[in-house]
Amino acid sequence: MTGPAILLLLAGLGAIAWVSARARALRLSGVARASGRRDAVHSLPGYHGWYVALWTLIPAGIFLAVWANVSPGLVTQSVLGDPAAQSLPMDGFSRSAILGEARAIATGAQAGAFNPAAQALVEPYRTALSHYGLAGAVLALVLAFAGGAYAFTRVRPDFRARTRVERLVMATLLIASLLAIITTLGIVASLLWESFRFFSMVNPIDFLFGTKWSPQSAAMGYGNEDAFGAVPLFWGTIFIGAIIAMIVAIPLGLMSAIYLTQYASPTVRKWMKPTLEMLAGVPTVVYGYFAALTIAPALRDFAVMIGIHGASSESALAAGLVMGVMIIPFVSSMADDSIAAVPQSMRDGSLAMGATTSETISRVLIPAALPGVVGGVLLAVSRAIGETMIVVMAAGLAANLTLNPFASVTTVTTQIVQLLTGDQEFDSAKTLAAFALGLVLFIVTLLLNIVALRVVKKYREAYE
């Protein structure tokens, strides 16, 4: 029996279970209700239907899922026992390629064989497949019947079917929410293990406080010491993401939020707000392209014009500027929210004292909203330091420890991409360094987030 057929059959069984259990519940509860006692009937008939249907479907479904993973192995075992399989080549890949082909023909996924050996195995495959398919189907159906029957016997007016069904719903929701933690753990685990290996080659102190980054030296066998000082990367990341980008994003974002919330007419606000939000929706690869080809050369020309020495067309400024623009909506929407969260009464209080709007904003609203704004800025920073494509395309790769915004610097994310996509040797400190960098980045964003959440929460509490 084929997969879809059995699923269809199960679905049918589930439907039957639902209908019959519901009908039974309907009849029984009608009787019970007639008896007059209000709490004689607990759940709606539909819930009984679901209860029985779920008992019919879930055990059988779990079995099928397991079976789908186990049976191919069993099928192959039995095919390999066939005389025709004796002539198969010994080497694993060709062998499994032939088996795979035979299987594909047997299931009809493929019309003919490239490999004559495969043709011979088609028949044994077909037999084995139908054999195990049938076995699986029978077992699944038996389980479905058993589950359904058990549940059906429990259908009584006062049986709390709704509670059971709802418990399952809750469990599903709970499991879904665990996924965030699992993902986080997955990230930590996948970073931690490789980072651990890295730190067994490179002293963490050297990594965190060294000022020289030249992984290729290490790769070329100059030794690991002195090659993995990540400070220039951290500096580049901070310089671009937390300094230049924020110098652009904070004033523009904050003032935009203030203008749009406090001054603009509703129509202007209605159109401008989403327009500005679009800045966050432009793909970063587009920003990168734009920064590299339009902004960076222009900035370099400008720098040369005003006589700045060592201006590079891959400048921290170009990347930071464009990144800052990208971040504007993050800052402005957080600022917007926090200013809006300052109670109207504060604003009224100030205005009623005879303060002008700007006095009210700068002396009452902003100070009151400051924690929220700071939280928003922290989140924006964490977004900025994690940004990859813009810096990959526009900031360059030179690990310079410089204050000159027209010079080229590099960032942690750029280096991760470079280390993992460039010429690399497996298991060298160079490759593993990418994971160590990733770990640092992860920890930093985590800390920023925890701090930001704390700040924002404190501030919310102040007004609730």
Binding site: A180, S358, T388
Partner: protein, 413 residues
């Protein structure tokens, strides 16, 4: 305590002071307006630049090639036109010979190296032309194409002038750009493959992140009692929303590819990786939407004996749905434009066959842009910008939809 005189509001000093305060007010307001204007201007400049660069990518220059089939060295039986036969007919050579006959010795520099494909397609469409002379429009070489549409090299300009004179040159909309896939000849490439890859990837992302995100939001907002446990979940989710996307790439690489042995370069893995990124966005938007459903609705339902699950699924969720959808669209838009994590899981690849399903190798629009921006041939520059326009149009449409939904369903209780 000195008894102060009542304030004299009419005094000169006071008047001056008020004038100063109003001037400050105007400056402040102007600064706000300037900030908005600057941000908007930047967006406009970006869009303008991209569109300016990319519009040309949607057009293609063609040269009318007169092909005298009977006289050509083409060995094809009109009754038996199969792919096989066409592949063996050595069409590139024939095309080159024909072109040299009509266009002169340097014809190979004028027509695209894949010009023969146009001839092949013409034969396939109508085998009868093999018995007559037919004018077929073939794509011009990149240099000619560029020179015809904008400024090219001096030599190419000369050639273009010559061809124009002869009336052989035409520039038209390049529909192929929307229907073809990646290739090596800029006159032949298209974004359909990457577009389809993006669609499939987004489908996987949506199917995974939406239900899980909504379920998580519901659990956290409606059922979970506040405890260290929910705090951990909350911090994880907020953190995931801010984790650098490249780290999701590392995760996808080590979990989906190395551990679970899922196929490399597939939309499935891309979608799963992006789903991990999108889910927290949906959770956060979902929680906000759920929070904004007034508690009085919950009270009302609970007050007549609805169970918590009924309250949520019959009242809260339907009311929060527009907000959740808006958040979902924004999250999806971000995923659609995401590049970095996909580089890690093998989607930075030359894939000339559009994917047929989620396990087929695929690439996505932004990665295609990234790849094309690194191509040798100059013809790819405008293709890159054209692909950016397609991506931007897609994204703006999604953002627009989100804004529409938000405006339409935004409720105040």
């Amino acid at each position: 305590m000195s008894a102060k005189n009542p304030t004299d509001w009419k005094s000169d000093a006071m008047r001056k002071r008020i004038a100063r305060r109003y001037a400050a007010e105007r400056r402040f307001k102007a600064a706000g307006l300037l900030a908005v204007a600057l941000s908007a201007a930047f967006l406009a400049f970006l869009l303008f630049t991209m569109v300016g660069n990319g519009m040309r990518g949607f057009t293609r220059t063609e040269i009318a090639l007169k092909v005298d089939f009977p006289a050509s060295p083409l060995l094809l039986d009109p009754a038996n036109i199969t792919d096989e036969a066409l592949a063996n007919a050595n069409l590139p050579m024939v095309t080159s010979a024909v072109a040299q006959k009509t266009l002169g010795k340097d014809a190979d520099a004028l027509i695209s190296p894949s010009a023969w494909i146009s001839i092949r397609d013409a034969i396939k469409a109508d085998p009868k032309i093999l018995s007559r002379t037919e004018t077929i429009d073939v794509p011009a070489a990149t240099a000619i194409d560029l020179a015809a549409k904008s400024k090219g090299t001096p030599e190419a300009e000369v050639q273009v002038a010559r061809l124009r004179q002869a009336g052989l040159l035409a520039t038209g909309i390049n529909w192929g750009f929307l229907t073809a896939s990646d290739g090596t000849d800029p006159t032949q490439v298209g974004i359909w493959g990457a577009f389809k890859g993006s669609l499939l990837t987004m489908l996987v992302t949506l199917l995974l992140s939406f239900p899980i995100g909504v379920a998580t939001a519901l659990y956290l907002e409606e059922y979970a009692r506040k405890s260290w446990w929910t705090d951990i979940i909350e911090v994880s989710i907020n953190n995931l929303a801010a984790v650098p996307s490249i780290i999701f790439g590392l995760l996808g690489l080590s979990i989906f590819l190395n551990l679970l042995q899922l196929p490399r370069s597939a939309a499935l893995v891309g979608g799963m990786t992006l789903a991990l990124m999108t889910m927290p966005v949906i959770v956060i938007a979902g929680r906000n939407a759920i929070k904004s459903v007034p508690p009085s609705i919950r009270d009302a339902a609970l007050g007549i004996g609805a169970s918590p699950v009924q309250v949520v699924f019959q009242h809260v969720l339907p009311l929060a749905l527009p907000g959740i959808l808006t958040g979902t669209i924004i999250g999806m838009a971000r995923a659609l434009g995401e590049t970095a994590p996909l580089l890690m899981i093998g989607m930075r690849a030359f894939i000339a066959t559009p994917p047929g399903g989620i396990v087929d190798p695929a690439t996505v629009l932004p990665v295609q842009i990234f790849l094309w921006s690194d191509e040798v041939s100059k013809g790819f520059v405008e293709k890159t910008s054209a692909a950016i326009i397609v991506l931007l149009a897609f994204l703006l449409a999604m953002n627009g939809l989100a804004i529409y939904l938000r405006n339409k369903f935004e409720k105040r209780w």
